[in-house]
């Protein structure tokens, strides 16, 4: 199984990338018309669409909090997104990621500005090829921004991994399955705060430190793309209004 070589001696990965090279990323803001905000991300073959509804009245009402908004999330995989068809019912993994992603976004959102309301963030994985939770977080903060919800900073995420003993950036599915570690990291890039951190695999203390550093660099790149995507959306809106 894991006997295949995922990293050549001169540091080239099976898809031709270098160890610190991200997959091709595409972001687009505002595709969906019947929600408060939306964003689409492609990271390699991983494809995700996020919609935000709200801030809106809590329903049922007992969910509401007097002093701040409640942030709700859903991380969900389409049945056709995986190699084997996935049942549409939420798996234990999806339930866990829903929580982890919510806790990655919460520190950034100024929830106290919308007491008694609910903000819903729905993340749908349309094609899964590793890195879905991190790409989901990256897209979710774009959708929140488009919905006009004030944030301390965007939240940006990427996974780092370990192949043949080397720390590498942004695993694809093959690398995730056969590699030695997978560590998704989300940050508020401007203020250098980690909001999501998980690890499956085996890292030494040194590798952990290196992994966080590699993640930070990847997050910087993605953060630039996020800002660009928002600018494009904004100018698109301006353009549209001028027409």
């Amino acid at each position: 199984m894991s006997s295949q070589i995922l990293l050549s001696p001169d540091g080239i990965r099976t898809d031709g990338r270098r160890i610190d090279e991200m997959r091709k990323v595409k972001m687009e803001v505002g595709l969906l018309k019947n929600c408060s905000g939306s964003a689409y991300i492609e990271q390699g073959k991983t494809k995700i669409i996020v919609a935000v509804h709200g801030p809106r009245e809590a329903h049922p009402k007992y969910l509401a909090l007097p002093h701040r908004a409640v942030l709700r999330t859903r991380y969900h995989m389409a049945p056709f997104s995986t190699s084997e068809r996935k049942s549409p019912a939420p798996s234990r993994r999806e339930i866990e990621l829903t929580k982890v992603i919510r806790e990655a976004l919460e520190p950034a959102v100024l929830l106290e500005e919308f007491p008694k309301t609910v903000i819903d963030v729905f993340i749908e994985v349309l094609q899964a090829d590793a890195g879905t939770r991190s790409a989901g977080v990256t897209a979710a903060s774009l959708a929140l921004a488009e919905a006009g919800i004030p944030m301390r900073d965007l939240v940006t995420a990427v996974a780092v991994g370990k192949l043949e003993g080397k720390v590498v950036l942004d695993l694809n599915e093959e690398e995730d399955e056969h590699g030695q570690a997978d560590m998704p990291v989300a940050m508020m890039p401007n203020i250098n705060k980690i909001t999501l951190l998980q690890l499956n695999g085996r890292l030494t203390g040194e590798e952990l430190k290196e992994g966080l550093e590699v993640a930070r660099k990847g997050i910087s790149q993605l953060y630039q793309m996020q800002k660009q995507a928002l600018t494009m959306r904004y100018s698109a809106t301006v353009q549209q209004e001028e027409e």
Binding site: N34, C35, K45, V50, A78, P79, F80, P88, E124, L126
Partner: protein, 276 residues
């Protein structure tokens, strides 16, 4: 939804306003009564499923993915493959959609699309048989309604049809009662293009492709799935209004005529660049 709209006091007013417009042959968005919004279909948008497509009708959008698995046939049709259609109303699509298992409406819409594909006999189920009575292909058609501005059924039906019509299956060989999956692939055997067309009745007016706004003001919709020959393979009246026989026949004419238009959209759909 039914409950909410029922207590919306503005409905009678808005209904009167719309009826007066309809009496001039116009709709709120400038369309004629028998006119669809802009239709766009792109197939093969993903690499992993055996087939996929996105369909847009105006601001309504649905995505379909096709997966196939080897499985057992039903005992009463041992030589036929199996089709499974499932529609999810993603919470993305509308502020009124809740996450969770499909509700009554989602199940009804799934079944309308399922029956259209099934009853039209458009898929050659016998060609999905690998070992009679033991192994057949199970074709899962999963549809996500992503954006809801009215007429989800037609949009989802288009996406499903486009996805199926560009799906492929691996060729197989049977050795010692074991199925061996080969590299070569063949298309899912589809012989016709059944498309659902939905007509809403508002007052005495019949409107094709109702927008969300129009759906709110309509108390009965009819979806008919036709094929090229004019045969109707599935009908569903939905909503608590009524119809008379003449109206049903007018609806049939509309559905067949508009079905031909939609079939052209499927035939001419663009390749999205994923696996086809």
């Amino acid at each position: 939804m039914e409950n909410l709209s029922s207590i919306d006091a503005t409905i009678p007013f808005r209904q009167r306003e719309l009826l007066s417009l309809l009496s001039t042959g116009q709709r709120m968005d400038g369309r004629k009564l028998d006119e669809y919004r802009q239709v766009e279909v792109v197939h093969s948008i993903y690499e992993k499923p055996e087939g996929s497509a996105v369909a847009k009708i105006g601001n309504t959008q649905a995505i379909a993915g096709v997966k196939v698995e080897l499985g057992e046939p039903f005992p009463d049709t041992p030589n036929d493959g199996v089709l499974t259609v499932n529609l999810e109303l993603l919470p993305h699509a509308s502020p009124s959609f809740e996450p969770g298992p499909p509700d009554e409406s989602a199940i009804e819409m799934s079944r309308i699309i399922d029956r259209g594909l099934r009853e039209s006999k458009s898929i050659s189920y016998d060609k999905l048989c690998v070992i009679p009575g033991q192994k057949v292909w199970i074709v899962y058609v999963d549809i996500n309604a992503m954006d809801h501005d009215g007429n989800i059924v037609d949009t989802a039906g288009l996406a499903a049809l486009a996805a199926v019509s560009h799906s492929t299956l691996p060729e197989t060989r049977v050795e010692d009662s074991k199925v061996i999956t080969l590299e070569e692939r063949k298309p899912v055997p589809l012989t016709q293009l059944p498309v659902p067309v939905t007509v809403a009745k508002i007052g005495e007016y019949l409107l094709v492709d109702p927008s969300l706004y129009e759906e709110t003001l309509s108390d009965v919709k009819v979806t008919m799935t036709t094929i090229e020959s004019g045969v109707v393979a599935s009908i569903q009246k939905s909503g608590s209004g009524t119809l008379d026989v003449d109206e049903v026949m007018k609806i049939y004419d509309l559905c067949y005529q508009k079905g031909n238009e939609l079939r052209e959209h499927v035939k001419s759909s663009r390749n999205g660049g994923g696996k086809h």
